[in-house]
Amino acid sequence: MIQLFSGDGPRSRILALILIAIGLGLAFAPFLFPGVRALETAARICVFIVLAASYDLLLGYTGIVSFAHTMFFGLGAYGVALASTHIGRGFPALGAGTLAGLAAAVALALVIGLFSLRVRAIFFAMITLAVASAVTVLVSQLSALTGGEDGLVYQIPRALGPAMRLDLEIAGVTVTGKILNYYLVFCVALVLFLVMLRIVNSPFGRVLQAIRENDFRAEAIGYRVVRYRVTATCLSAGFAALAGSLWAIWLRYVGPGTTLSFEIMLDILLMVVIGGMGTIWGAAIGAVLMVLAQSYLQGLMGYAAGASEAMPILSRLLDPDRWLLWLGVLFILSVYFFPTGIVGRLRARAAR
């Protein structure tokens, strides 16, 4: 099906199996992995797959480094949060907030792009950093509107909340509004992902790759490079905003820490690099690995620390508080051994 849809398959049997496993795992997550924690993780994976893929559109396909991706993510999230707060609980608020966030993100990306992409790619990176920092500060200062550091807590339609229970049980799990909410997130994320996969394989997407490879020559064969770069920036911002709206619908809470923080920006960057830049599929794999590591590495380490109590140094190294250290070690190893990312590595293997 995916082959028909974009013509850009995994091109490696191992990769295909991994992707099918991820797809099935996410599609049946509420029933395969019952429990609140697992469902939270699955939803987080769905959202971050879209977010990382939208960043790959920029970084991997167009060769533009941006540090404002979380800002666009945040715009989508705050759009939903503000609309739900002011319009009141309901689907119209979700729709209006999503559209407003999307429009704001695309407009801002257009301005930043037109302003800075004419000059030099490095200039764009710096501008995005400056604008993103300014927006983060602004959001924490404008507490009357945004709730400041505390963020906003709001209500979403009843049908999507845990209190709503259907008289339906599948595989021993009662279907609640939370599960419906999960499927909303999953389905929208799936559609967005497939659309992005389609875009990178379109004539437009190929031009982006040409620009990444050699912008000078792309211009010399007749492509208006600046326009393509600005369009790519706007598209990427739009998809990021949609991911943010999904995240806000799922969390029922929006704050600087969950959407705008620089740590999330780094997470996205690492997801794309570890998964494999310029493949879109890599974003999916990177997002799964990162989110799983963040959610379960600490627990796993606590278990390992307990098991190795006899060896004091090892036990201390495996202390759950050291989980960031080990995450760092994993990153360095993966970038060192898979410079083209997991997808690049697996495809190279399959091509041999």
Partner: protein, 254 residues
């Protein structure tokens, strides 16, 4: 002259105090291959850059079919019909040979803006790219990334990209530089084949005299950025002034 495709009028560019191209006025007719010669640093490549738009002129005009294009950008000049192959190979290294050509055909046909169609599904573009691929005999390498290609084949592809673009003005900047003796003729045959197109004009920067002798209808000589000679090959090459002052020893060997 009604069939002048491209002409430059008093075209100049200064870099600080240095005049790199100095008031060059010259017309290029359809159906003609003009070789541009001159010692290193004479301003040949800079003159090319001014015509194709990589460098903005300090003074003077560039006209295509009588239309002033001096202030137009690189990509717009390309769409209007000025095509350029580069001295240093300048391809899309991570993409396949076929994709390099496909991108050029896609650019020529103005089909790069579609977001939701599939690039591979455009059979028209693909067929044209395939045709050029076989014309330059690079089919065996179609799926290879350009970065893995030999230097000679990269030069061939460089010329092929320009053929795929099929501009009104073909500009070749030392197309056989660094190619082996048995590889160069393929590229030269391709350029010779283009001369059959009576509605195109070809500009060729070249050092090798045998190449110029076999291809050129006309030679212009640049020296210190200025036009020093202009005429049929035999005449220009025979002129003692040109031989001594501008061509150096290369011509004596040629």
């Amino acid at each position: 002259m009604t069939d002048t495709l491209l002409d430059t009028k008093d075209l100049s560019v200064r870099f600080g105090g240095h005049v790199a191209v100095d008031a060059v006025t010259c017309g290029f007719r359809a159906g003609e291959l003009t070789a541009i010669v001159g010692p290193n640093g004479a301003g040949k490549t800079t003159y090319f850059n001014l015509i194709s738009g990589q460098i903005a002129a300090s003074a003077g005009k560039v006209r295509l079919e009588g239309r002033d294009i001096t202030r137009r950008g690189v990509s717009e000049r390309c769409r209007l019909g000025i095509g350029r192959a580069f001295q240093l190979t300048n391809l899309f290294p991570g993409l396949s040979v076929f994709e390099n050509l496909r991108l050029v055909v896609q650019a020529k046909r103005g089909r790069g803006t579609s977001l939701l169609r599939l690039a591979g599904a455009d059979r028209e573009v693909a067929r044209e790219a395939e045709a050029i691929l076989s014309q330059v005999r690079l089919e065996p390498f179609a799926a290879q990334p350009v970065s893995e290609l030999s230097h000679g084949n990269q030069r061939k592809l460089e010329v092929a990209l320009l053929i795929a673009l099929d501009p009104l003005v073909y500009m070749f900047d030392e197309p056989t530089a660094g190619m082996s003796i048995d590889e160069a003729p393929v590229v030269l045959d391709l350029i010779a084949g283009l001369k059959a197109r009576a509605d195109r004009t070809i500009l060729l920067v070249e050092h090798k005299m045998d190449v110029i002798r076999s291809l050129a209808d006309r030679i212009i000589v640049l020296h210190n950025g200025a036009l020093a000679a202009d005429g049929p090959p035999a005449e220009v090459m025979a002129s003692a002034v040109v031989q001594e002052a501008y061509m150096g020893r290369e011509l004596d060997h040629g």
